[in-house]
């Protein structure tokens, strides 16, 4: 039951993009079409779950026992970057189809602050191993959901008469604001 709360909390209540403001760059950059948004979302979810496991092990078996928590940022970001690289090579070798679908998004994910931000939050929350992974899954699903919602609306916006200065990123921010307002209705749910 607690795992369910963690999941729902990460998807809706503390949505990584709309409430915590993590991963805004891909949120604005890759949300013009629902298809690419879905690819980016799935790739990010995958990386989040894997890095949830990786950073949990690093934190509690390397950094804490050796008294090195101050090295957290460099260690986490380097491990996530290397891990993403490895996953890309692995996908390229084993399943070219999946690589074609997700491959181009993988390098972008390294600088997606949602992944590192998630790792730092998970460590602060002192979650167990399983809880961390569920939290990562929820964070990724929440990211995908926000991305898909914005992309769906932006696709429709092409036919709308948007004032010239607001065109493009400006109106996207205003839409994101309304989405965020809708998500704030979830506060206090968990």
């Amino acid at each position: 039951m607690e795992l369910f709360y963690i999941f729902i909390g990460a998807v809706f209540v503390n949505n990584f993009v709309l409430v915590r403001f993590l991963g805004i760059c891909p949120f604005m950059g890759v949300s013009k079409q629902t298809e690419t948004a879905l690819g980016m979302g799935l790739a990010t979810t995958f990386v989040m779950v894997v890095s949830a496991a990786l950073t949990w092990l690093l934190q509690w078996f390397v950094l804490e026992p050796f008294g090195l928590p101050f090295l957290q940022t460099p260690v986490f970001i380097l491990s996530i970057a290397s891990m993403v690289q490895l996953v890309e090579m692995f996908l390229n070798k084993t399943s070219p189809g999946l690589h074609r679908a997700l491959g181009i998004y993988l390098p972008l994910i390294t600088t997606n602050c949602a992944v590192l931000g998630f790792s730092l939050i998970a460590v602060q929350g002192a979650y167990s191993f399983i809880q961390s992974i569920i939290f990562g899954l929820g964070a990724g699903v929440g990211f995908t959901l926000a991305l898909m919602l914005l992309a769906g609306i932006r696709e429709e916006m092409q036919f709308a008469d948007v004032p010239e200065p607001l065109k493009g990123i400006g109106i996207a921010f205003v839409i994101a604001g309304l989405l965020s307002l809708a998500f704030s209705g979830f506060s206090g749910l968990v």
């Binding site: 957290q72 200065p165 400006g170």
Partner: protein, 201 residues
Amino acid sequence: MGGLMKEFFKGLWNDNPTFRLQIGLCPVLAVTSSALNGLGMGLATTFVLICSSVLISLLKNVIPSKVRIPCYIIVIATFSTIVDLVMHAFLPDLHRVLGIFIPLIVVNCILMGRAEAFASKNSVVSSALDGLGMGLGFTWALTLIGAIREILGSGSIFNHKFVADTAATFGFFSLPPGAFVTVGILIAGMNIISARLRKAS
């Protein structure tokens, strides 16, 4: 000399990271609930930006191109952690408000972007000026957004309250949705000003 000044000024307006390039947006939304927070975040980022630009420019001939990205990551992560620790020691209140967005400077696209696109190809002096310009461009954007949200949302500016304690304020602007809408409208405003400037020249 004119060329060097250009490296400095481009970050302030034409290539402003927040309003023009639209990179490094997470802290722009997350820590701008007050002008002071925006200013603090901007200056912290500027410090990391200048230090890493200078160092990467110094090392540009030493670092083999195949491992340049990991090297940049280590350099930037080191300076972000230094800022994190120093701020925790000397500005604990600000550190508490900015929270994980200080270590997250490392994944701010501005940092990697400037390292890869500028500092790795240019001299130390112009890299430092580029970093300073970009950093200050980021800082004024964050401070402006913070000031607008603070005035409307809390009825204060730089923590000086100018309305009565009981007065109703637009709490919307303190909340996450207000951050998105403020930035969206500011970007539209910048587009109008830039279009006017283009027409005038």
